[in-house]
Amino acid sequence: MPKLVVKNLRKVFGTFEAVKDVSFQVEEKETLCLLGPSGCGKTTTLRIIAGLEVPTSGEVFLDGILVNDVLPQKRQIGLVFQDYAIFPHLSVFENIAYGLRVRKVPEAQIRKKVHDTAALIDVENILDMSGKKLGLSEMQRVAIGRSIVLDPKLLLLDEPLSNIDAKARERMRAELGKLQKEIGIATVYVTHDQLEAMTLADRIAVMRDGLIEQMGTTSEIYDNPRTLFVANFIGSPSMNLMDCEPVYSEGRVVLKSGDFSLDITEFAETVKSKSKGKELVLGIRPEDVSLDVDKTDPKAMEAEVQLVEPIGAKSIYHLKIGGPAILSKDRAMPEVNVGSKVWATFNKDKLHIFDKKIEEAIF
């Protein structure tokens, strides 16, 4: 039985429909991430699950039981907020024990539960430390500890890493990932950061304008985006997307975009049968455009380098191939500079073609 079932959720604020029709399930031990730009309805959805908002219509089931009318504090849901909300004047022990004390749990039981939780989140050595002395990663662990000590059925995390600088965020993300695996509680995680979603979630629901646009495992979402929006939103740098038109001649099919053309004869049947209009969008991820200084592949296209962004072992190359600007993410090549002529090869197994009008993937 799924831990959480959300069915046809809808929420209207005045004239604004924040959540239009959202349904999903979260299995035992699974982490589902609600991902989308600000205003997509992800936080409202989370707040409805927590019981902090009442849905206009729709149902929320926990362990198969309808909880729409259950008060937030009775739902057995652990909430971790953006700023962690650690009590600065209380020790780590008391921070973790807080919820148990409110529930008037006997002292001996509190001690045992806090110590068990502390072992799990690795704060046994700092139980006496005061809340205001904690570093970021300790705060994160204590905030999660404070939720899981109450044995919640479900954990809700609302953008827990969004106020942290880039370098620390990288570390905290990994720590959170490890912690999740160890705790093994079903989790709904809300974020606008696609990298966070990719690295922390088992499955992602990409939201837009109050609806789930696509739901799937991280690899499914990344490798097979079903809409232009998802293709563009997931991945950094973004997928190359070029407006183009299919040109049929002498049994071959070529996608044309200005002076740029790509032979896609092998996909002709699919394109023909599935596309509704003549206007298509060709998509390819930057890492699937490989570069060489010499022409080693007969199908390689000549490209001019317009900008190079070194990012460590790899670089992002901004290329001009005929008309459109195309990004390639490939190994750092010291000999390639602005103005260099290089040869670009598209990995044809990784092409995406979208119908421009309906904004959906043909394949």
Binding site: D165, K167, K181, Y222, P310, I311, G312, A332
Partner: protein, 363 residues
């Protein structure tokens, strides 16, 4: 020609030393990036260049002139702040024209220059609108236009992209770099985001606690970090760092990290004698670790997969070798499972070593 030179700049705030002996030299037309964690002293350097803060010690040269006593308005330096002070009740045009009005330029010249800079920044459509209707990215560009319209010799940008969404940030950073090239303007840019720093900078300065750790081209700092701090700060995922000692084993020299070791016989002649008796840190970038399903030779170390982070185009796989966790970077087509047994192999020629006490790299 040298556009800007800082010589032994120090600055204290109360008892806290904000900058210690900061020296750097920036050429005309260069895009120079100052990067470091929050509180490292980045903004203070920019403000000292602009003349908004006076250094306790050291000299500021613009061109070949000392400007320590020159007021900010006469330095020919423009500064764009993290939160740009835009007048909400003036239109885009009036905001951009403001510095020219102060200089009492005539209407015709003002119109011409505002329109030229607006066209370049692609904000012509914003000229008649008021800032309350702008998005974050648009506001940032109007602020930039207002500084650029003065044609300053040096442009200072303090975390210009910090408050933008991830996707817009990526795009704006490219725009800024293109713009800098087109204008040929000398630009000093601060950011806490090391990826942004290496992506845009011709050269970068890594700063920590008021001290410059290293200055160099992005590739140089990435490939040959001179300190542990620079090694750890630049690059994502972060370099693996483990305590080790240099030891002789038969006719081989190894960096011994107890749980594993790396053969450095080929480089040992270049290693300083002092290294033999010192505590060291072994540094390996994640892309210089290969994960194998079976051991290739005796130089591979057995470990267990502890965490998998899916970045889309790549995966970061954390492997536990005895008591040490190591991050390896693998392509998107390689599948790993939690708890899986793998063998770690190092690209030994790419390994870094640092003195543990001083943090200085061993040549």
């Amino acid at each position: 020609m040298v556009a800007l030179r800082l010589v032994n700049i120090s600055k204290k705030a109360g008892k806290r030393q904000i900058l210690k002996n900061v020296s750097l030299e920036i050429s005309d037309g260069e895009l120079f990036v100052i990067t470091g964690p929050p509180g490292a002293g980045k903004t203070t350097i920019l403000k000292i260049i602009a003349g908004l803060i006076a250094p306790d010690e050291g000299e500021v040269y613009i061109g070949d002139q000392i400007v320590n006593t020159v007021p900010p308005g006469d330095r020919d330096v423009g500064m764009v702040f993290e939160v740009p002070p835009i007048y909400p009740n003036r239109t885009g045009f009036q905001n951009i024209a403001f510095p020219l009005e102060i200089k009492k330029a005539n209407d015709e010249e003002i119109k011409e220059r505002v329109e030229a800079v607006a066209k370049l920044l692609q904000i012509t459509h914003l000229l008649e609108r008021k800032p309350t209707t702008y998005s974050g990215g648009e506001l940032q560009r109007v602020a930039l236009a207002r500084v650029l319209v003065r044609k300053p010799r040096i442009l200072l940008l303090d975390e210009p992209l910090k408050n933008l969404d991830a996707k817009i940030r990526e795009r704006t950073r490219v725009e800024l770099k293109r713009l800098q090239r087109e204008f040929g303007i000398t630009m000093v840019f601060s950011t806490h985001d090391q990826i942004e720093a290496t992506a845009v900078g011709d050269r970068i300065a890594v700063i920590n606690e008021g001290i410059i750790e290293q200055i160099g081209a992005p590739e140089e700092v990435y490939n040959s970090p001179r300190t542990v701090f620079a090694a750890r700060f630049i690059g994502s995922p972060t370099m693996n760092l483990t305590e080790c000692a240099l030891k002789q084993m038969g006719d081989r020299w190894v960096l011994d990290a107890s749980d594993f070791n790396v053969d450095v016989t080929a480089h040992v002649r270049a290693i300083e004698r002092e290294a033999m008796t010192s505590e060291l840190l072994l540094g390996v970038r994640p892309e210089d670790i290969t994960l194998l399903n079976s051991p290739e030779n005796s130089r591979c170390f057995e470990g267990q997969v502890e965490l998998i982070q899916n970045f889309g185009d790549e995966r970061v796989v954390t492997v536990r070798v005895a008591k040490t966790s190591l991050n390896g970077l693998v392509g998107k087509d390689r599948i790993f499972t939690y708890g899986q047994r793998v063998y770690v192999k190092f690209r030994e020629e790419k390994v870094h070593a640092f003195y543990r006490k001083t943090g200085i790299a061993i040549v």
